[in-house]
């Protein structure tokens, strides 16, 4: 498993533990399965070397997307879910301390969220970036 995949799995584990509602499933965005809304999809957006002389350290940008359907959820519930997820992702110290299982996370920076509609589905995009390396 690559360093970025290990980071992705770490975030899936963190969000699964801290998800704001039992109805939400936290999934690997690239997994070959079908899921029912609402869910949080975690994906690796990009990976690059942090520095030429530190090739083992990678700058990993993560896409974390909450998808909910307008027909299912109350507006206030969704707002509360977004706040809870932001609080979890903004816990940079907590997340960066989760170095284990072959991965060292040096830093974790939460970069805010944006929202967009895809027909009747609201997608809330949470952007985060971390520095990590295989332990």
């Amino acid at each position: 498993m690559t360093a970025s995949q290990r980071v992705k799995q770490t975030i899936i584990d963190v969000l699964t533990e801290a998800k704001p509602s039992a109805s939400i499933t936290v999934v690997d965005a690239k997994q070959r399965a079908t899921y029912t809304l609402p869910f949080i999809a975690v994906d690796v957006a990009s990976v690059s070397s942090y520095a030429d002389d530190l090739p083992q350290v990678q700058r990993i940008s993560m896409d974390i997307v909450l998808k909910v359907h307008a027909g299912d959820e109350d507006d206030n519930d969704v707002e509360n879910w977004i706040a809870d997820i932001e609080a979890t992702l903004d816990g940079a110290t907590d997340i960066s301390s989760l170095s284990s299982d072959g991965i060292t996370i040096y830093s974790w920076v939460y970069g805010g969220s944006s929202q967009e509609w895809e027909e009747s589905v609201l997608m809330v995009n949470f952007n985060v970036e971390c520095l990590a390396a295989r332990a």
Binding site: V27, D28, T34, T36, A41, D43, V65, K67, G71, D72
Partner: protein, 103 residues
């Protein structure tokens, strides 16, 4: 109901008997529908595979109350889960266009 409505309703009764009906459940109501065209496919999407599905079913207006409240809600047709994407209504019939619950 006019005589024309009565005539058309008798036609729907004949269609129900000929094509057969299955139960649709939505917003706490259960009613019979005749299943029309259906499509299903697969595509990759954020969060895994998506299964775009479309199914058209027809119910009798007299069997359903507050039908427009069913828009965007989840439902089942013969036990299979869908979401109500569109409703076309007249005095005697309701045509539901159903899609995958993630649509």
């Amino acid at each position: 109901m006019s005589l024309v409505d009565d005539f058309l309703t008798s036609g729907l009764d004949a269609i129900d008997a000929t094509f057969g009906t299955v139960p649709m459940v939505c917003e706490g109501q259960t009613f019979d529908v005749v299943v029309g065209d259906s499509t299903r496919s697969y595509e990759g999407a954020m969060g895994g595979l998506a299964a775009p599905t479309s199914l058209t079913v027809t119910a009798q207006t007299a069997d359903v109350s507050s039908h427009f409240a069913m828009l965007q809600k989840r439902c089942t047709v013969d036990g299979v889960a869908y979401r109500v994407a569109q409703i076309s209504a007249d005095n005697i019939s309701l045509v539901f266009t159903l899609e995958d619950v993630n649509s």
